[in-house]
Symmetry: C2
Subunit: 440 residues, 2 copies
């Protein structure tokens, strides 16, 4: 059986490995040139946070060890105040961490592995037209256009999916794209002498400033990739910082410790693009023999570090369903979208909510105390009270939709707990058993 995958990004190439391993003839078509060629610039962001859901999906095709080697563990958040004070908050328990990994490096490894298994890759192939009824795609290619037909076609072609574009022309196709008011811009903190990390290596750094924030993730060479999440309009905003002097003054006043580590701040700021942030939802994900997967089906904002993890989990879930239904695709495709849509909607919401947490709440003493109380609950009842962040990030057996539901219940309970007298809270002299019972 002949499977076509559109998009050789992270999800498309991992899915190709899964399907090739099941014995299908798999061809992957990618609009861009081969990312393994010299000079190729990766996708939207330089590094990503790989966590348990993604790792599990890689593990099931035997790719986990390869990738761990190039990942930098981040055990918690390091918050930087305006005064340069540092506050550290562990993400989970001892041994629980997320991983900073190079997007382009990971992509190269996946494509190379897929090719080794016998997947055919066609780069510089742009989708011109998709005939959903015939499962036929017409590609534009520098030399000549060509059409290919497939038994099943999978659109793994990202947030601005051409395959979804074809579905959008069909009747009764729900779709939404919602931009947030913030954009982002990447900046670089270079490595110190001899590859020394100029900030704590094993943390995700955050400069929370209420309406905006700067974050930084480590790279293996000792550098950090910073991302400024900043409003497009208003004050301050990308619009309000016009001159180089304004940019310089702004960074020195609100991110002084970071500014001191970014020697090319002005150049980076001027030459790196300002990109927008969008949530895309659609339904159905299936028309005839064509399926959308990953960002093509559900693009989310990056604030939970789950975009890639959710896409990888899609691949794992699809593979499980192929097992369950003995490769009967006409049963698998509807089952996949029904099972997975609530989870995609849940992580989209969680990602939006987490922006508020990252840019504002993590700078708040009450919030950190709340997290501490939750950590204590988790220590006392490790299987019963799992903090939301842990459910999403470290517990790949809890569905996103379940995590969202339980997290809301927990929030209600904690809102009440936080009304207790400050001394009771700060001394943690709480009736944890009673709190626990409310979770039901």
């Amino acid at each position: 059986m002949k499977i076509g995958i559109i998009g050789a990004g992270l999800v498309g190439s991992l899915l190709a490995i899964y399907l090739k391993k099941r014995g299908y003839a798999v061809s992957v078509y990618e609009r861009r040139p081969d990312m393994r060629r010299k000079g190729y610039e990766g996708g939207r962001s330089i590094n990503l946070a790989l966590s348990n859901r993604g790792i599990r999906a890689l593990h099931e095709v035997g790719m986990e060890d390869d990738l761990r080697k190039n990942a930098i563990p981040m055990h918690g958040r390091m918050m930087h105040s305006v005064e340069g004070e540092l506050t550290y908050q562990a993400y989970g328990k001892e041994g629980q961490y997320i991983n900073s990994i190079s997007r382009s490096g990971l992509n190269r490894v996946l494509v190379t592995e897929a090719e080794r298994l016998g997947v055919s890759f066609f780069f510089d192939h742009r989708v011109e037209r998709v005939d959903l009824e015939a499962t036929t795609v017409t590609f534009a290619h520098p030399s000549a256009n060509k059409s290919e037909s497939f038994d099943y076609l999978i659109g793994a072609d990202g947030a601005f999916s051409a395959v979804r574009g074809a579905m959008q022309l069909t009747d009764r196709f729900d779709f939404s794209q919602d931009y947030i008011e913030h954009g982002y811009k990447e900046l670089t903190i270079p490595a110190g002498a001899a590859g020394r990390f100029p900030l704590e290596k094993n943390a995700l750094h955050i400069w929370p400033r209420e309406s905006y924030m700067l974050i930084a993730l480590p790279n293996p060479d000792g550098s950090f990739t910073c991302t400024l999440f900043f409003p497009f309009e208003g004050n301050p905003s990308f619009e309000s910082l016009q001159t180089e002097a304004e940019v310089d003054r702004f960074f020195k006043s609100v991110f002084p410790d970071a500014a001191a580590l970014i020697p090319d701040l002005i150049d980076d700021y001027r030459s790196n693009p300002t990109s927008s942030l969008v949530t895309m939802k659609c339904y159905p994900w299936v028309r005839h023999h064509t399926l959308l997967i990953g960002d093509a089906a559900h693009a989310i904002v990056p604030f939970y570090g789950q975009g890639m993890n959710a896409g990888f989990e899609d691949c794992r879930v699809l593979n499980d369903l192929l097992d369950h239904h003995q490769d009967d695709w006409d049963r698998v495709l509807p089952a996949f979208q029904q099972l997975r849509k609530p989870d995609a909607d849940a992580i989209a919401q969680l990602a939006l909510d987490n922006f508020v947490e990252m840019r504002d709440l993590v700078g708040d003493a009450d919030f950190l105390l709340r997290k501490k109380i939750e950590a204590k609950l988790h220590a006392l009842y490790p299987d019963k009270w799992i903090p939301l962040y842990s459910m999403v990030t470290f517990h790949d057996t809890i569905r996103y939709s379940e995590a969202l539901r339980i997290g809301r219940q927990q929030k209600k309970i904690m809102d009440e707990v936080m009304k207790m007298p400050p001394e009771t809270l700060s001394s943690l002299s709480l009736d944890f058993e009673k709190i626990m019972q409310q979770l039901g």
Copy 2:
């Protein structure tokens, strides 16, 4: 100054009249042939409910009287039970009514008037490409393609707007399309002998059946156009009624009095299309010198009879802003979208809510009692308690967003009132003053 309008439908042609009267050079481009030519079949629905907002917009360009002549007043809803019992509910006070009007007839009158004023119409002109930065449109036409540039361009080209399609390709453009689970199909109750109306002429007829409904609006020739709003899937649904016998049996069992009046039921059902129902939202409505208006900016479901009225109100509001800003379009366009977007969102929500009211609640005795209590409140406090339906339909000085907000407040109050003992409620022996005070 040269204004281009895309779409010669109801909103495009009314807007052309408004702008021509202000002294602009106005050209209207329409994908379809001239609807005044013989054999032309109108848009989606045969007749529409014209109410105060639409009438006010027509009045301001002196078109009200022309149109009143061809309108049939509908003073209330006539509900038909399965047993054929009739229940009548007035829409408002004495003298308040909505109007059944032919979509194609109204469109013809507007185009003819615009042409008489000097507007140029170009039919069979399909938008091929819109260059938003240059305000240039390339049209495909049976004889040859051509490009036209404008000072300002207005997309009045409906729910599936090509102008909006061009905006969708720009960054940070929010968009959503949401289909409901129901579709619709039109059926005809022919006139009786000598143009006699086979049902009460001056009412909108509803056969509410909880999960679906049939409605009928009168036409000047004595016939009624019926619309079945019915789920696409499930039981019963368009999918579940497969054979002619099933259709026949279904109508005779659930709409017996209507079925008896539709001689060509089976033919109509088989040959008329089943159409879907969508809510479309987007923002911004303005890019450079191009504006979206009417359904192109905010397509809604038809259950409040406000789609055309909202589009006509758009024209009137735009004209008011042109007055206010002395035709400074660069101030008018942003002001228009900021002012009008909350109202468009509000009527979209109200229209969705009203489907539940029409298909289910109007068949419910408690609901009718609630309406009766509200009518009494309105009689006692005519300027202070205006029922939601009246605010939307008869009060063109209350913005849709205000109507939605006040309606929600009223609902909360009425939910409490309806908890009183049944005998207190049915005898209307209520402390109306006290109820009124809660509105604040």
